[in-house]
Amino acid sequence: MKAELRTVKTAAELSLAESYAAAKPKLPGDGKVVALREAAFKRFDAQGLPHRRVEAWKYTDLRAMMREAKPLAGLPDAAAKARAKTAGSLLADMDARRLMFVDGVFVPELSDLAKLETGLEIRPLAQSLASGDPLLATHLGRVVPSDGDPAVTLNTALMSDGAVIRVAAGATVERPIHLVFVATAEKPVSIFTRSLAVVEKGARVMLVESHEGAAGVEHQINTALELVIGEGAHADHVKIIGGDSSMVHVSTLMAAIGARARYNDFSYTTGGSVVRNQLFLRFDGEGTLANIRGATLLKGSQHADVTMVADHAAGGCQCREVFKTVLDDKSRGVFQGKIIVRQGSQKTDAKMMTNSLLLSDEAEANQKPELEIFADDVQCGHGATSGALDENLKFYLMARGIPEKEAETLLVQAFVGDAIEGVEHAGLRDALMDDVVAWLKARGT
C-alpha cells in the first residue's frame, strides 16, 4: 500500500490545503464540528483528488480535470443576489417553497420560510453548525458512511452552508421544497454546500435541488445531501444540474431508507462542463419500493458521470433503476451502477437499466452496471445498451412527412421520456419534458 502514497501534490491539491487552512477559523461549527472537519480533511489530504487509477473514479479523472482549485466563494453582495433571482426558473410553475443559496450562502430575503406546514422545520446549515443542532449531532456524516469518498470528505471539511430540514413523524408537506443553488460570482470560485433532511416515520415530502451557474464561468461546486427516510415515509428527491453553466460540479446523495417506505429519486443533468453525480443508497428495512431514475443530455465537450451504489442491507425491497443518457457532439457520458445485496437480504427485487443514445460519432458512453449478491433468494438483474438512433424508426417517421430533425426530436423525447415518466409530480414532469424539447431545439444542425 505504501507505493500508493503520493508525496507530490498537484497545484489544485495544494491550494485546497491552503484554502482549508485559511478558512478553518471562520468556518461555522463548535468543537465537535471542528474535529469532524479536521478528520475529513486529513483523510482527503492523504489520498488527494481522485484519479483514473481509483476504481470508483476511473472514468472521471478529477485530478486531471481540475488543474487548479478556485478560491473559496465570498459572501454574495447585493448584485450577486440580484443576479440570482431568476435561478431555478425551470420549476417556476411548481408552487414550490424556495430556499435560495447564492454562492453557497443561504439568502433569507430570497427564500420562503413563511407559514411552514405543521411538522416541518427548516434551518440554514451554518446556523445549525454554530448552535450545535442535535439533528446534526445525530446524523451529519453518519447517514450512509461514504467510506472515505474524496468528494464527501472534502465537502465535510469545507461545508459552509445548506439546508437542515426535518419533517416530523406523520407530517405531510404539501408544497415541494426547492433548494435553489446558484453560483453568481463573476470570477470562478469554489463552493461547498451540505444539506441534511430527516423525513420521519410516515411523513411525506418532496425535495428538489437545482444547481446552476453563470455561463462561461468555471465554478467548482461540491455539494452533498444526507437524507434519512423513516419507516413508512414517502419521499421524492429530484436533482437538476442545469443551465448552460461551465461549472465543475460534484454532487453526492447519501440516503438511508427505512422499512415500508416509498422513495423516488430523479436526477436530470444538462449543465456543467464536468459533472459527477453520486448516489449512495442504503435500504435498511423491508418492504420498501424505490424508483431511482435519471436523464442526462450532453453536448459540446461536456462530461457527466452518474455513479450509484444501492446497498440492500435489508431484504424484501423492490428497487428499479433507469438511467438514460443522450450524447451529442464530443460529449462523454458515464454510468456506473452497483447493486449490493447483503447476506440475509432475501427477496430483494432489484433491476437496473442504463441506456445511452449517441447522436454523434464522436460522443462516448461508458456504462458499468454491477451486481454483488450475497443472498440466494433474490431477483436481480441489470442491462446496458448503447447505440445511435434507430434508422428504421427514423425512416418510418420521415416517410410520413416528418422532417429529419423533428423525427429525431420525437425519438429522443421517447428515449428520455421513459425515465422522466417516473417523476410523480405532473407539473415537474411536464417542465422536464419541455426542457428536453428546448435542449433538442438548440442542437446544432
Binding site: A399, G401, L410
Partner: protein
Amino acid sequence: MAMLEIKNLHVKVDGKQILNGLNLTVGKGEVHAIMGPNGSGKSTLAYVMAGKAGYEATDGAILLDGENVLEMQPDERAAKGVFLAFQYPMEIPGVATMTFLRTALNAQRKQRGEAELSTPDFLKLVRDAAGKLEINMDMLRRGVNVGFSGGEKKRNEILQMALLQPRLCVLDETDSGLDIDALKIVSDGVNRLRSPDRSMVVITHYQRLLDHIVPDVVHVLSKGRIVKTGGKELAHELEASGYAQFQDDAA
C-alpha cells in the same frame, strides 16, 4: 401525363443489385397490382419510392407528375404525396400515436404552405377516420403500434393513409396477417380512397385482396424487373399456375 413513371430503375442494396431496369407507368386514378415471388424485389421497389436510406438507385428515374423524386428526402416525398403502407410497420415506444399523427399531418401541411390544423379539427378528423376502420381511440393513445396485433398495425397504416390523403399510395402486402373481417375493413378503407386524382400500387401475394381492391392492371415482378403485365385476370392465372414460368424466363 402519367402520375408515376418509373424508368429503367436499377437499385443496389448493400452492394447487391436488386432491381434491374424496372419500368412501370401508372396513370392518374389507376390501381396497379404487383405480384411476384418472395425476394423478387417488391419491397425494395416500395422502399426506393419512399426514399429509404441504403437503397441506392444506380440508374434510372422515378417520376412523380414528371418530377424525379430520387434526390428528395423521404419527408419531402411524403409532402409531395407519396405514401408507403409498410409490410412491417414499426413500433415506436414512447411516441404516442396521436402525437405522431398530428406531427405528420402538420409537417406535411407546413411543407405545402398550409396552416396547421386546430386541435378540435384534428381530433374530429382522426375520430372519423378511425371509426371507419374500427380502430378504437384508446389504441391511439398508446405508443405508435406498441402492443398492436399484426392486423391492427395494418389497419393503423390505412388510418395514416386516410388522414394524410396522399396522391400515390404504395401498399406493401397490406393484406398479410389480416383475418377475413379485417381484410374487408382494410379493403373498404382503401377503396374509399380511390379517386381520379389518386393512384395506387398494391403489392400482394394473393388474388384474394384483388377481389376486394380490384386493380386496373396487374404486373409480375421477378428478379428485379416487370416480366409480365395484364388485366385483373392475370392474378387468377397466377393463382393457378404459380411463378415458375417467370422465374425460368428471367434466369
